[in-house]
């Protein structure tokens, strides 16, 4: 026998909270519509201006330019990393002279434009042709591609040296002392204890540096290298078709965004032991 003889009739659920129409919402919708229109406009330009002959003619050239860009950036980042090691160590050394030289190098290359450095190397050093021929280095400075590579390596090495130095110095002293207490020799302590921790700190700045390099590499187009930007300029100068730049923008966006995503994944994976 239950005390309850009548059940409470089921009631309608409470009304869902209304999203108020605020100025922010209106602005958001307006800007999103603007983006949508721009996107549609972009697609329409590509569809309306679709030209099979142009596509067949410049498509492969774009792909080749893409390869030039990627290989140039890849090579310069790797070579720059190799060059940044001694610079970073010189920057951390107690020796006044070494420290001064490394500081000057980093300061100069970080505070002048990449374009000016490239011009200085390609046109500037290129004007010493007889001297370079006697030294046997003319083949190197004759080619715009090599000059671009050299200036990129010098530039990125300066940035990477600062990243590396910051990362190594961010490892607490106690880690060095702990390694010394365990009787590890300084070189092994550096390789097995300091460096792994430093590289995790350096991971994100390294990713940013590669992205900056990828964007900065567009300047080689100005000294006649046919990278992605160079092919774009070539196609535009031949066809006067604005699409040339839109295609390049898409390529660069996909490249940079893809790299960013891959890097975020990588960082998530490599720092999984640090997450709580």
């Amino acid at each position: 026998m239950s005390a309850v003889s009548e059940l409470i009739p089921p009631r309608a659920p409470p009304p869902s909270a209304k999203v108020p129409v605020t100025a922010a919402r209106i602005a958001g919708i307006a800007v999103l519509i603007l983006w949508g229109l721009l996107g549609i406009g972009l697609i329409m330009t590509v569809i309306n201006g679709w030209d099979q002959t142009k596509f067949l003619r410049y498509g492969p050239r774009y792909l080749h330019g893409l390869w030039v860009t990627v290989s140039l950036v890849g090579l310069s980042v790797v070579l720059g990393a190799a060059l940044s090691l001694p610079v970073a160590f010189a920057r951390m050394s107690q020796n006044r002279v070494l420290n001064g030289i490394a500081y000057g190098y980093v300061y100069v290359f970080r505070s002048t434009p990449l374009l000016a450095q490239l011009f200085l190397i390609y046109y500037g050093l290129g004007s010493f042709r007889p001297e370079l021929e006697t030294v046997g280095l003319w083949w190197f400075f004759r080619e715009a591609w090599y000059c671009g590579l050299l200036s990129f390596v010098l530039n990125t090495a300066a940035y990477q040296a600062e990243i590396l130095r910051g990362a190594i110095q961010s490892v607490p002293r106690g880690q060095h002392e702990g390694a010394a207490a365990l009787g590890l020799s300084p070189s092994i302590a550096f390789r097995k204890i300091v460096m792994p921790q430093a590289l995790i700190v350096a991971l994100r700045p390294y990713g940013n540096e590669i992205v900056l390099m990828m964007k900065g590499s567009a300047v080689v187009a100005i000294v006649t290298v046919f990278d992605l930007m160079g092919e774009t300029r070539y196609a535009f100068s031949r066809t006067f078709d604005y699409q040339a730049y839109l295609w390049a923008a898409m390529f660069y966006l996909v490249m940079v965004e893809g790299l960013r995503q891959v890097w975020a994944r990588l960082e998530k994976r490599l720092t999984r032991h640090l997450r709580r």
Binding site: A24, S111, L120, Y252
Partner: protein, 260 residues
Amino acid sequence: MGGALSALLDGLDPFCGPVGLFRLFGANSIIACGDAGWGDEIAFGVKVTISLALATVPVGLVLGFLIALAAQSQDRLLRMAAGIYTTIFRGLPELLTLFIVYYGAQILVQSVLSSFGVEERIEINAFVAGMIALAVVFSSYSSEVLLSAFRAIPRGQYEAGDALGLRRHRTMRLIVLPQLIRIALPGLTNLWLILLKDTSYVSVVGLSDILRQTGIAARVSKEAFFFYFIACLLYLILAMISSFGLGFVERWAKRSGVSR
């Protein structure tokens, strides 16, 4: 009055004035001022570079501030719109952004004019195009800096403003902005130095900045290394001066924090 002012400015001209840099090498050197050398042309380029950078900063900062506000708003759609903006303009090379703005604006203005029946070939001002492109890039980076500064300001500061009966925009102006500037200043200093370097790209679309002027001098005089070296040196000096000056600003912004 105007004559006196311009005479004073001429006297203080760091390049071609009476105690100017390019006067040191005599009147017949290759970088002398006047017809004999390239000093005055290069000095003009320096002025263009500085004025372009100075004209870009306010536009870029205001735009970046608005985007940072949008990126931290409660509204999902507004956040998304701001995200698209920063993703695009941080992903494109500055050079490509410049070309897109330069040629795109030209095509746009031309098509607008032709719809009104005006068939005329027009050239977009390279300064304006460069300013827009650099401001767009600057704003997308500065919005990130300002956003992280916004996040560094505790909620309690807004609540304190509410408790004092201040309106939203007065809370922003009197309480949040002074702290925001202090927190964001190192990042913005970096962005200014990057902007100063990025102005070199406008030389490609024909604006007479440092790099273009030295480039012309290099081609005509066949002293490429010397002139591009001078270009690098000038950028270096500009960077040094601005980091020195911004150091003062930073100390000024931190003046309330020092005594604690």
